[in-house]
């Protein structure tokens, strides 16, 4: 059986996998990191989004072996060891950006990538477009969009540039 060695939430792991093992199966079933969800299993809903070397990807549409040697961050890897939430998590809480919570881990991971990759600022429209790959069936997205806009200044340590608003 092949082995895959990678870094997950800062920890080096080596796991026995099959060729067909998906990254999300490795995370959930082999490592017990069940915060990453499988919603549609067809790369549409985004509940399975994790970061691969800092970039958001759908872990249900990637083989575990494709992540060999790479660094994966899941929702469990965001908060500090003392329990302090990541600013994006904090803003999701503050703005009530979730109801049932199923899509939330993928939403948060996708949103962090979105904010990180737009140091110039994000308009509401850009945030909505940036969430094209994440489906939420409860909230109607409004509070998610608000939470992401509110997390931008916290993550970049400055006010959102006016032009982007």
């Amino acid at each position: 059986m092949p082995q895959v060695a990678l870094t997950v939430n800062g920890k080096k792991v080596t796991v026995d996998v099959e060729g067909r093992t998906l990254l999300v199966e490795l995370l959930r079933e082999k490592l017990g990191l069940t915060g990453t969800h499988v919603g549609c299993d067809t790369s549409q809903c985004g509940a399975c989004v994790v970061h691969l070397d800092g970039t958001s990807v759908k872990s249900c549409t990637m083989l575990a072996l494709q992540a060999a040697g790479r660094s994966v961050i899941t929702i469990e890897g965001l908060a500090k060891p003392d329990g302090t939430l990541h600013p994006m998590q904090e803003m999701f809480r503050e703005h009530h950006a979730l109801q049932c919570g199923f899509c939330t881990p993928g939403m948060v991971m996708s949103a962090i990538d979105l904010v990180q990759s737009h140091p110039e600022g994000l308009s509401e429209q850009q945030i909505r477009h940036g969430l094209e790959g994440n489906l939420c069936r409860c909230t109607g997205y409004h509070n998610i969009v608000k939470a992401i806009a509110a997390a931008w200044p916290l993550m970049h340590g400055k006010a959102m540039p006016a032009a982007a608003e």
Binding site: G19, L22, V57, L63
Partner: protein, 264 residues
């Protein structure tokens, strides 16, 4: 998914060797189509040969040509300052494929080799008169696309790069399926070294095609007015639960006029 052996060769030559040694092996690019296909057990390869380590990613611009390596992701093309400057329509097209997570993994070579009839890239490759480079030869865009999910690629032949001549002007407009983001209809309009071209993806039963009547009209006068009265026959266009052939034919006209306006 049925199980398979995973291999990640470090060069194109090694990848070709692995694929040649096993007729049941398949090449894996970004996996955004292949992995869902395998999940549905629609295909049963003995091995997947991952091209991610074969050195095929990267963009270069020289002598009026933008050359994009086959394993370059849609996100990289969309965000490339070089592509945005040389062929902004191509960067915009790449930025409109799927969603951002799909764009982070999906590749131009994978998209072209798959030749989905609703994919975006085929419209750009054909409209710009691009050249598809493989490990064996170069293939003109006009010869590359041969119908739905069918290309000129032979067994054991891998796309290595695509070379786009920089056009004078170009634009792409698509009406995306609101769920899948694939093109219900996408029209790419270009005026460049390959002449004036209008290509349509998403609509044709045989995949991407050139709209000769619009090309002839735009050749005379590159304006929305020139194509305002050109009707697109619904014969040979797709009809499905998302849109009928007549509606797609109508959308071809709308998208083409918008593309001409955007190209300026």
């Amino acid at each position: 998914m049925y199980d398979f052996t995973y291999q990640k060769p470090a060069s194109v030559a090694d990848a070709v060797k692995l694929l040649g040694a096993d007729p049941e092996a398949k090449a894996l690019a970004g996996g955004m189509t292949l992995i869902p296909v395998l999940k549905q057990r629609l295909n049963k390869p003995s091995a997947l040969v991952d091209l991610a380590g074969a050195g095929l990613a990267g963009i270069s611009v020289a002598g009026g040509t933008v050359r994009i390596g086959a394993m370059t992701t849609h996100a990289t093309v969309a965000n490339s300052a070089d592509v945005k400057k040389a062929i902004p329509a191509l960067a915009k097209l790449a930025g409109g494929i799927g969603d951002k997570e799909v764009r982070h993994r999906g590749t131009i070579g994978g998209s072209l080799a798959n030749d989905d009839p609703t994919a975006d890239y085929p419209a750009a490759v054909l409209a710009l008169g691009a050249t598809v480079e493989t490990n064996k030869r170069t293939i003109n865009a006009d010869d590359f696309f041969q119908g739905m999910f069918t290309t000129a690629l032979e067994s054991g032949e891998l796309i290595t790069a695509i070379s786009f001549p920089v056009p004078e002007k170009a634009a792409y407009m698509k009406f995306p399926n609101p769920a899948s983001r694939y093109a219900l209809v996408g029209v790419f309009v270009a005026k460049g070294p390959a002449g004036v071209r209008v290509t349509v993806t998403g609509a044709g039963q045989n995949g991407v095609f050139r709209h000769r009547a619009m090309e002839a009209a735009l050749q005379k006068s590159f304006s929305q007015a020139a194509i305002a009265d050109i009707a697109t026959p619904a014969d040979g266009l797709n009809s499905d639960i998302h849109a009928g052939a007549e509606y797609r034919a109508h959308l071809v006209g709308v998208m083409a006029r918008r593309a001409v306006a955007a190209a300026g």
